[in-house]
């Protein structure tokens, strides 16, 4: 565009005409931008850290199962026999961060009482490496990888069926062949998630013991549970189902999405409020220069020239403010990356209970690249909208005569 350099100079000089006002506008917009960046990073990192803590405890990132394993009508069956084996998973790299589990509804019976629970057979050694389940054992110990027929009970379950460490319990279920399965197992540990009801309905044993109990082959299992948080692309495995945690735990997935969306909503409101203030300031600034706009029109500047010069002025201001804001957001994000804080700072010292489990993550805020372009785009859109009314007024009033 011919004369663009002059136009740019003209707009830049106008910014410097009231330096204090310009500085205040830039500061308010940059602080707002910086806060939004930090806030979004915080919400994203916070929910990811909380989810990571939660999923690492037991649930895992995604489950590889028989395609009918999680089907709604299967849940009605007393036992779900939909088993798989490693020979059905062609991509062996998927086995690295996964652990096998066998699950079955069983009765656990002490000397006096019996309760129905979900028994999970675990690959103990891998489970210790991948999940933090073993750390939830508060009484006794976790399952010994080199032993069998051991059982870890939920603390409340043990209390209700009146068993203690070292006691033997009878585990009764339905085997894969339909026969009654039963086994005596020794209680070696009590698990406490801190959350409540979950401990009343869970019991864990070595995978080998669970397979023997249910008359399954040593290579057969129900789930391969993945703990690799970095893997956000669901693999496709022919004939099998790969289910992500948001589908396994929809209510928690929804709440994470809610936090994310709500943070965006708050960000939009912040930008809107700043924009309204900015619009008012621009209106005052433009009206103060009304006579100049009239002069420009008289000496031959077309409406488009005046409009573009004002747009450049506001976008120069916006760009400086956004760059400064991104820097502020990055510095504050970086600070909390190096100095993570306990989430309880925001919960009044109380723990977060999710899915019946206590989680207490240290939140390390890390930058999410997409916010560094999405937020500026959002601000530019609002800036443009902010300009519309002041511009219309200026253009209307600049058409006056000498």
């Amino acid at each position: 565009m011919k004369g663009f350099k002059f136009l740019l100079k003209f707009s830049y000089r106008n910014l410097l005409r009231a330096p204090k006002r310009t500085l205040i506008l830039i500061l308010s917009l940059s602080i707002g931008t910086g806060f939004i960046i930090w806030d979004l990073n915080f919400a994203n990192s916070g929910s990811k850290e909380v989810m990571k803590e939660f999923l690492n405890q037991y649930a895992g990132e995604y489950h590889i199962t028989h395609k009918d394993y999680y089907r709604e009508d299967n849940k009605k069956e007393f036992n779900n026999f939909k088993i798989i084996s490693d020979s059905e998973i062609p991509d062996k790299s998927l086995l690295t961060f996964t652990t096998r589990r066998v699950t079955a509804p069983v009765f656990v019976s002490g000397e006096k009482k019996t309760l129905g629970v979900l028994l999970t057979g675990l690959e103990t050694e891998k489970e210790i490496k991948l999940s933090t389940l073993s750390k939830a054992v508060t009484v006794g110990r976790f399952l010994n990888p080199n032993s069998d027929k051991e059982i870890v009970l939920g603390k409340k379950l043990a209390h209700r069926i009146e068993v203690k460490l070292g006691d033997e319990v009878a585990v009764i279920g339905q085997a894969l062949d339909g026969s009654v399965a039963n086994e005596l197992m020794t209680v070696v540990g009590l698990i406490d998630f801190g959350g409540g009801d979950l401990e009343e309905s869970l019991a864990f044993t070595q995978i080998k013991s669970a397979q023997e109990l249910l008359v399954m082959g040593p290579d057969q299992y129900h789930q391969r549970v993945d703990f690799n948080m970095k893997d956000e692309t669901l693999p496709q495995i022919k004939g099998l189902a790969v289910t992500i945690w948001t589908d396994l735990l929809p209510e928690i997935g929804v709440s994470v999405r809610f936090v994310d969306n709500f943070t965006w909503l708050v960000s939009i409101v912040i930008v809107l409020v700043i924009s309204l203030g900015l619009s008012n300031s621009l209106m005052i600034t433009f009206l103060e220069r009304e006579q100049e706009f009239q002069t420009l029109n008289i000496i031959g500047a077309k409406t488009i020239w005046v409009t573009v010069s004002l747009l450049i002025e506001v976008f120069l201001l916006g760009t400086i403010a956004i760059l400064l804001g991104l820097l502020l957001g990055q510095i504050s994000t970086n600070y909390f990356y190096h100095y993570p804080f306990n989430i309880q700072f925001f919960t009044g010292g109380k723990p977060i209970i999710m899915g019946g489990m206590i989680i207490q993550p240290l939140v390390r805020i890390y930058p999410v690249l997409e916010y560094y372009w999405k937020v500026p785009v959002m601000i530019y859109i609002f800036l443009t909208m902010t300009m519309i009314y002041p511009l219309i007024r200026v253009i209307r009033r600049s058409k006056n005569a000498i």
Partner: protein, 229 residues
């Protein structure tokens, strides 16, 4: 090319019954090299006639012509371009842009016209030399006296070598000595470069110097006198 106002009326509708004539049956021809003044008391309609010539307002009746072309047929943006291409403006209160230096103020309409950098530089230096401010090009308006600001305003108006310079009360804000210098400058520009000027004024010193004086009363040109012809 000649600027013409033919039977021009400009009526302002104050209320349904009350109409005010800003200009009434104005007939006016401005030829190349003319040096003329519209004279009359405040509110007589001088500025309205200037606005009509410039195409800043449109007549209620009659026509405005430049070189035979009808200006009233042009759109708002076309009339703005027409002013840029053919006219220069001088204001009572100078109307310089405070954020631009004297040089840049003169450069402004030349930039709008799309002149090359070299041509702009030549024209700005020529204009500055004509108004005697060769060494003050880098000063901002607030660093200049009233007289110097008016000289910059004149330089801005003439740098594009317009066919017509319209000046609204150009000496009204100046002290006597400076006003006299500015009048001399107008005269020099008219005589040396055949620049056409039309003033709205009631400054007798300026009235004494122009070739044509048109007395305006109640929106009408009541009398036209030619002298110094």
């Amino acid at each position: 090319m000649q600027f013409e106002l033919i039977h021009v009326d400009k009526i302002y509708q104050v209320s349904e019954e009350n109409k005010v004539f800003g200009a009434k049956d104005v007939n006016l021809k401005i030829g190349t090299g003319d040096f003329m003044a519209l004279v009359g008391p405040s509110g007589s309609g001088k500025t309205t006639i200037l606005n009509l010539i410039a195409g800043l307002i449109l007549p209620t009746n009659g026509s405005l012509k430049h070189g035979g072309s009808d200006i009233t047929a042009l759109s708002l943006e076309e009339r703005t371009k027409h002013r840029l291409d053919f006219m220069g403006f001088i204001f009572q209160d100078y109307q310089l842009l405070p954020i631009l230096t004297a040089y840049e103020n003169i450069e402004f309409p030349l930039q709008l016209k799309g002149f090359s950098k070299k041509e702009i530089d030549e024209r700005v230096h020529w204009a500055l030399s004509q108004v005697g401010l060769e060494k003050m090009g880098n000063r901002f308006p607030k660093q200049l006296s009233g007289g110097q600001q008016q000289r910059v305003s004149i330089a801005r108006a003439i740098a594009g070598r317009p066919e017509l310079v319209l000046a609204d009360e150009p000496t009204a804000n100046l002290d006597s000595k400076t006003a006299q210098e500015i009048i001399e400058l107008f005269k020099k520009l008219n005589q040396e470069f055949k620049l056409t000027f039309i003033f709205s004024t009631h400054d007798q010193r300026l009235i004494d110097q122009v070739n044509t004086v048109m007395y305006v009363k109640d929106g009408q040109i009541s009398e036209t006198r030619n002298h110094h012809a």
